[in-house]
């Protein structure tokens, strides 16, 4: 079966409709049904009064975080690329926080702030508690700083080295940076910031820990108070529209940057030859990145002092739930990516419609996505559906990343090589396994890594759909954090981190190897 055949199109469309379309359809139908019974509910979709304030605060927090990450991530990445070769491991270490869920960052920074307050108190200075908008902004910025720095590195590697060399031949390092390198990388850099904006808009873990009431928290609170899914759906309309407006331009650039082969190893916009001010800024941003990594390590290692083994054994059922959910979601995401990518890689009405369908789950806040999964789960009878719903929800929320990344890689693939495979392969269909899939393998591996990391750390949607008596490790940690059991939290965070590393290292190694082969 060829990837452009009718059967492939049907299979891909059915798979996308089943995983992405059904929860959205369920949410839509439920909202319409409620509106027909009580048309006055339409006012929920238009924020006013308190909800308008919450929406404005959420946008302000997400926007400020995106700007902080854009500036710090870009400047940090300018200093990093030269650190290749023997120092490469140090560069990799700075990106480890990408795989650590946001609330673990929050714990590390809470502890660091508390330690700093005590130190300052000795000198007689009383600092306010590390709470509120500023604290949430700082922690969210630190959470997404490695992500934006990584996207910026991908952006540098996309720039044709000859264009940078040509700029250097006729201008100083700073001039070539400001006039050529940054404008060329601008679409990808801005897309990274927009992605951070969308992720922050739907996040409820960090704002709740720092007592900042946001729109996503309000959605969760509304569902907890009323139990009416339609209310949550209608209230989510503005946040989804804002998210989609940010995502549409962002996704294509990021996918292209992540899936494009690097134009040269260790590409750098000549950091060491730039002006002193530029270098100071860049080194400052790298120090910020290093401080985040060091704080995380110190916070998690303090868990070793506690009863590590006992805590992990106690949390073993949660670990198992997390691992099971991640494996199922990754497998489903891979199948979906292979099925859907050929359809969205080439422009056309069907491709654009599928792209739009795939983007909506990314713009949905976790609690709303969770209620969509609940609605679908409620239609099907049987105990098994309650067990499968969390994993299906994870695929609904995060498989779009896998589909979009694979689609972007396919759009840039050398189709002559694929055609040559089809011509020279004697066994019918064997070209797919010998040419097509190996060509996609690196990006599929990268996509699976992204999905695994996101699933293991997810909280917002899991809170809604986990069956009684079951909870993933992320929720266990989140609950302990609220109760203030910081010793146990450190221990479990360490266990979670080791688990994530064990899950992601084989994928990362395969990804690197696959890149070298292709």
């Amino acid at each position: 079966m060829a990837t452009g055949s009718r059967w492939w199109r049907i299979a891909g469309t059915v798979a996308a409709l089943a995983v992405f379309g059904l929860p959205l359809l369920a949410l839509g139908l439920d909202a319409i049904r409620s509106l027909t019974v009580n048309p006055a509910l339409a006012h929920l979709a238009i924020p006013s009064g308190r909800t308008l304030v919450l929406l404005a605060r959420t946008c302000a927090l997400a926007g400020a975080t995106a700007i902080l990450c854009l500036v710090a991530g870009t400047t940090a990445s300018l200093a990093l690329p030269r650190a290749s070769g023997r120092m490469g491991w140090l560069r990799m270490a700075l990106f480890v926080p990408i795989v650590i869920p946001p609330y673990i960052h929050a714990l590390a920074w809470m502890r660091a702030a508390e330690w700093f307050r005590r130190m300052v108190a000795v000198a007689g200075v009383r600092l306010p508690a590390f709470q509120g908008f500023g604290a949430a902004l700082w922690v969210q910025g630190m959470v997404y700083l490695p992500l934006t720095a990584g996207i910026a590195l991908a952006a540098w590697s996309m720039i044709d080295p000859q264009l940078e060399d040509a700029a250097l031949m006729r201008g100083s390092q700073d001039r070539s940076l400001w006039r050529v390198v940054l404008p060329l990388a601008r679409p990808v850099l801005l897309s990274g910031a927009l992605l951070v904006f969308v992720l922050c808009m739907g996040d409820l873990a960090i704002p709740s820990l720092f007592s900042v009431n946001t729109y996503a928290l309000e959605l969760y609170a509304r569902f907890s108070a009323t139990g009416r899914i339609s209310d949550v759906t209608l209230m989510a309309v503005p946040i989804v529209l804002i998210g989609l407006a940010a995502l549409v331009p962002a996704i294509r650039s990021i996918s292209a940057a992540v899936s494009a082969p690097s134009t040269r190893e260790g590409v750098a916009p000549g950091f060491w030859r730039s002006s002193r001010w530029t270098r100071c800024l860049c080194v400052g941003a790298v120090c910020l990145l290093a401080a985040d990594t060091a704080g995380l390590c110190a916070s998690m290692l303090s868990g070793l002092r506690g009863a590590l083994w006992t805590a992990v054994v106690d949390a073993a059922p949660s670990v198992w739930v997390s691992v099971r959910m991640a494996l199922f979601a990754c497998a489903l995401s891979m199948i979906l990516a292979i099925a859907v990518a050929p359809l969205i890689s080439h422009p056309g009405p069907q491709g654009w419609s599928l792209c739009a369908l795939i983007l909506i789950p990314l713009a949905l806040p976790g609690p709303v996505a969770g209620t969509g999964a609940l609605l679908v789960g409620g239609v099907v009878h049987g105990e098994w559906i309650a067990q499968v719903t969390p994993a299906l929800l994870m695929a609904f929320r995060f498989a779009p990343f896998a589909c979009l990344m694979t689609g972007a890689r396919l759009a840039r693939a050398d189709m002559d090589a694929v055609d040559a495979g089809r011509v020279f392969e004697r066994r019918r269909g064997n070209w797919m396994f010998r040419v097509w899939l190996p060509m996609l393998l690196p990006v599929l591996m990268a996509a699976i890594l992204v999905v695994a990391i996101l699933v293991v750390g997810e909280v917002g949607g899991s809170l809604m759909v986990m069956p009684p008596g079951q909870q993933p490790l992320s929720i266990t940690i989140y609950n302990y954090l609220h109760y203030g059991a910081s010793g146990t939290v450190s221990t479990l965070c360490l266990a979670l981190f080791v688990g994530v590393l064990l899950l992601t290292i084989p994928g990362f190694v395969s990804w690197r190897r696959a890149w070298r082969l292709t």
Binding site: A166, L168, M169, G171, V180, R273
Partner: protein
Amino acid sequence: MIECTGLGVALGGRAILSNLELTVADGERIVVMGRSGAGKTTLLRVLAGLVAPSEGSVRLDGKLASTAGNIRMEPSRRDIGFVFQAGALWPHMTVAQNVLYGLGDLPRPEARRRMTEALEACKVADLALRCTSSWTNR
């Protein structure tokens, strides 16, 4: 005058050039030939100051331009012309901006006059405000 003394370049842990001695006198023309991967482009990039040598030194008109691991003279200060294989036109700039970038050190009116002259000489003055991305794809 270009003088390379004991020049060596290693990229990614692999020696591309080693112990190269080269002197090009004023007005002299030379051709560098070699098989693919021999290091021809790397040599030109070292001379232009785009890559630092890993050993040896480069002198331009008697001035030390590059030493091991160090670029002492910026590429734009070396007064070296360089024609790139793929043209190296910056796609986010117009044709006029591409030419003006190379005239950055001149006063603005003088730079604009020279840019107009250059475009007219190449018979592309009517394309001055076009982005090079659309221009090169035609």
